[in-house]
Amino acid sequence: MTNAEQTATTFSADAFAPLAQDQDVQSISRPSLSYWQDAWLRLRANRRALISLWLVVGLLLFTFLGPVIWQIDPTIQDVEQISQAPGANRSVTLVAEYEPWQGQGSSRFAFAETPTTQSVRLQWENFNPSYGYRVYRTPYSIGPERAFGLPLAETLDPFFEDRLDLRPMNYYYTVMAIDADGANTNNYHTIEGTVARVITLEDARSRGLVTTQANPPIGTKYEFAWHPLGTDYLGRDMLARLMHGARVSLFIGFFAPFLYVLIGVIYGSTAGFIGGVTDQAMMRFADFVVALPFLLFMILFKVMTNTGPGESGIIPMLFAMVVLLWPATARLVRGQILQIREEGYISAGRLLGAKTNYLVLRHMIPNTMGVILVTVTFAVPSAIFTEAFLSFIGMGVAPPTPSWGSMCNEGIKTMLTHPHELIFPALFISITVLAFNMLGDGLRDALDARMRNRE
């Protein structure tokens, strides 16, 4: 209304006609949103949370769609390709079937045949017939410190066949005369040779490199199957193992924390809200559960659930984790609820006649969401590692079922020589943790009641 001057006017009735509704004064600039709708909107606006959502989707695809696309059996072992790094040379030459060999004698130290991964055959002049020889092998030059490398065998014969873990690389072989006590002498010879990777016809057929009818000549070149992420200590495909391992690790890493945090939240908020004697009793029970020795009860659950040999053992593990690990969350939530219970808005809510359920669900839990989500984010890796630790001491998933944690366990031993066996599973665990962390962050921002007005 303008600042019109007051004048004496007479009003007629038609002057009071209702104003035409040409403008919707009651309209709200945004549609009314429930707590969850609002949270979803804000989650979508959070770039990091979105990335993490995509990561989670990616992990799920990797787990469930991966094995459909990459149809390699993760249990197939290939002793010819043990601990192969990704991108290693895969070429292989056809040789004849292995025949035992007894040496022919030679006037000098030499390879009796071209050294191959099937066998390396050495022979030499019998220069120390009474006490015999020790044969050494090393991939590095001998040098002044006389680092002969691996002692392969002691023999009285002037020939030796090496079949131990031969890899397609350069080796130095030393034949050392030993004395009566079996000690090394200064009388030794060294030769150098490059081992070629070979395969027998039967093996090539079983790998499908050669058809059953075909009879290719010796010396034909082939390529071994491709392992994009290399192979493990038994020559199994790492990618396939990671995909199958994801089922165990993500299952444990997702369900166990979800379930025990859920129990913890319900338990903790109940205790915190009711308070008094009930709270005391409930928290003492939580203390009791916390102090139970995890390992012992893990064994017990396995016995109780009657897990037979060869069964994966995931369910008893999940059960044990859920039953034994909830109290930490419960304590945390209870602590928060105790604090919030005294807040002014709760008293106000109560005064306004809010029901207990409403107070807990709408005010208390959303306000503890931040802490709860942090707990969940951390529970994910700790559940994955608990599984690894249990697998390690023989109470986790049964071999050959892989899991990321147990793959890490195996990989750590060859950390220096075959780093890919540790790095890939560790990387996948990291990605999972990262994804859940960022998602947790995003969810926290989205769900936290106090963040609602901060846009």
């Binding site: 916390v290 020795p293 942090v374 951390f378 890796p381 700790s382 750590i412 990291s430």
Partner: protein, 310 residues
């Protein structure tokens, strides 16, 4: 306060009794017993051994004997560490685990609180991003990897320096403790950082901080008195169980760094079904944990006056 503490201690005693009972019967329900060995025993010898260790009696009688001895503070003699009393084992090895654990918790708590506060302060800026990435690394690498890498870097450090800068393993001096306790405390530190950050962020946007700012209270005082003090609360709640987890969970670190802690005796005892050591360590740790929880609750009440201790 004193009467409250006393009441809690009494309740704690009952909790410990429950723990002991559950563990005792749980342990006896597991197939096998401590007498099963690599070499088979003849019936006669087995009987003799069972009599010697009182295993020939019904479990409930054994339980009664155990409780009677427990009341006297006697935890019995170990089955695997023959001729050693469980009391001695705990007395000798717990201080080692505790020292390592206290140091680890100290590192974790101080690191966690400081880093957490820092990241909250610089939220979504560079320091926050860097620290949070480190935190994720800290929790996504399992402890056995951290321990192995830690030890390897010590070897390389000594190798490069040409002398023993820090010992690679063993126990004795402060220098032996630094790396193992850091390794042990790392994941807890990461957890606490994360927890501290999130609770800090909640506090920053809370009404009383805003009011304090509006009242013109000096920034330093707001930060310390209002923000830090309130944000530490959830950290303290988890600290109690963490202490117990760290002192018991040192198994991997103890093995790799050759530290004579109680952790490996416990794991070994479970694997060997060494009844007396299992019971001894469980009761001891149970009591320790319950005590820690009570302590934390008392501290909690002291820091946060809103939480009334009846």
């Amino acid at each position: 306060m004193a009467s409250y503490a006393l009441k809690r201690l009494l309740q704690g005693l009952i909790t410990v009794w429950f723990i002991a009972t559950a563990t005792f019967f749980g342990m006896h329900a597991v197939p096998g017993d401590p007498l099963t060995g690599d070499k088979a025993l003849t019936e006669k010898i087995r009987e003799n051994l069972e009599v010697k260790y009182g295993l020939n009696q019904p479990v409930i009688t054994q339980y009664g004997i155990f409780l009677k001895n427990l009341a006297k503070g006697d935890l019995g003699i170990s089955f695997t560490q023959e001729n050693r009393r469980v009391n001695d084992i705990i007395a000798e090895h717990f201080p080692v685990s505790a020292t390592l654990g206290v140091l680890a918790i100290f590192f974790a708590a101080i690191g966690g609180i400081l880093w957490g506060a820092l990241t909250a302060l610089y939220r979504n800026r560079l320091p926050d991003t860097i620290i949070m990435l480190l935190v994720i690394l800290g929790i996504s690498v399992p402890s056995f990897v951290v321990a192995a890498v830690g030890q390897l870097s010590l070897v390389n450090l000594n190798d490069m320096a040409g002398t023993s800068v820090l010992p690679v393993g063993g126990w004795g001096t402060v220098w032996h403790m630094i790396v193992p306790s850091l390794v042990l405390g790392l994941s807890t530190m990461a957890y606490l950082t994360r927890l501290m950050r999130s609770s800090m962020l909640e506090i920053v946007s809370s009404d009383f901080v805003r009011t304090a700012k509006a009242k013109g209270i000096p920034a330093a005082q707001i930060f310390t008195r209002h923000q830090l003090r309130n944000a530490i609360l959830p950290v303290i709640t988890v600290l109690g169980p963490s202490i117990a987890a760290i002192t018991t969970g040192g198994f991997v670190v103890e093995i790799i760094f050759a530290i004579p802690g109680l952790g490996r005796y416990f794991v070994q005892a479970v694997q060997q079904l060494d009844y007396t050591v299992i019971m001894g360590t469980t009761v001891f740790y149970g009591a320790f944990l319950v005590f820690m929880v009570i302590l934390v609750d008392l501290i909690y009440g002291w820091i946060d006056p809103r939480v009334r201790l009846e």
